[in-house]
Amino acid sequence: MGHGVTWGEFFFPGLAHLLAAYGIDPIPAIDALIVSVLLILLAVLGGRRFRATPMLEPDGRPSPAFLLESLLGGMLAFFSTVIRHGARGLFFLLGGFAFFIFGNNAIGLIPGFNPPTDQYSVTITLALITFLTAHFIGIRTHGASYVKKFMGPVWWLAPLMTPIELISHLVRPLSLSMRLFGNMTGDHQVLLIFSTLLAVGLPIPFLGLGLFVSLLQTFVFVLLSAVYFQDAMEHAH
């Protein structure tokens, strides 16, 4: 299926040609850059009141700073229920995943943008970050006895449990990436087909579905990442 015209190519044709000259597919790259710039703007503008003064009382008005504060506080509380110790250190990674994945998913709902997460290269990168971080945390917490986790509860089950545990650990980044990739690709194709049928009115339920699926897939990715981190950190049976 052709990609049509995108805003990225419309406003930044020079950047598209530059990226294509280096062999990088320009469409997901420019859309990912646009999302990243929007997220940086959100961080800078939302945190401006907190940077001005260290003592800040909520004054009851819904300003972006306080909305962001309650959102981030809610996320930290939620991660603390999954990761019992050390949620604060991992909060930066998990919160970054959440905003990045949600921004990238949701930008596909705007006509003229393709969600960068419907490229397998983006999702496998995110899943590999989770995989490597989980094992790094496990080795840092347990040291060399991290391999004991793969051997199961009793020592004489080790030859059976080790291949099973290894395979299940290796499948985790694959399943994380394929879940996000397949959901976003399928959703975008469905939206495309129904928008081609009738551009006014018919895509409304599919835009709602797309927003719901974007949010849900972000939630599932971040929740599963937190579960993998907790699984790597907790002491063996």
Binding site: G182, T185, L216, V220, L223, L224
Partner: protein, 100 residues
């Protein structure tokens, strides 16, 4: 007697279908059939699984409405994990359909 008739019928159909094996459109037929079956069978199993998961969650909420917040997160996680199996089928269907 019935088994012999059935075996003879199967052999007859195989012999009658042998010209089809050399047809030019056979590869496209196989890819298209595979793509169609991949999504449909995946959706069949996934639909049943998600129905069971949601039924159990809703029954839990009906028994104990105060626990609805605690039931919500595992229900969403379970639904997304079941749905991911359906999505694997969809990805295979896209891969097959791209080869036509």
């Amino acid at each position: 007697m019935k088994r012999k008739a059935l075996a003879f019928l199967a052999l007859l159909l195989t012999v009658l279908a042998s010209p089809l094996y050399a047809a030019e459109g056979m590869e496209t037929f196989g890819l298209a059939l595979g793509a169609g079956l991949a999504v449909s069978l995946g959706a069949l199993g996934g639909g049943i699984g998600q129905g069971l998961a949601t039924a159990a969650a809703v029954e839990g909420i009906a028994r104990n409405p105060n626990a609805s917040d605690k039931i919500f997160v595992p229900m969403i996680l379970g639904l997304a994990l079941i749905e991911s199996l359906v999505i694997y089928g969809l990805v295979i269907a896209f891969l097959l359909q791209g080869k036509i």
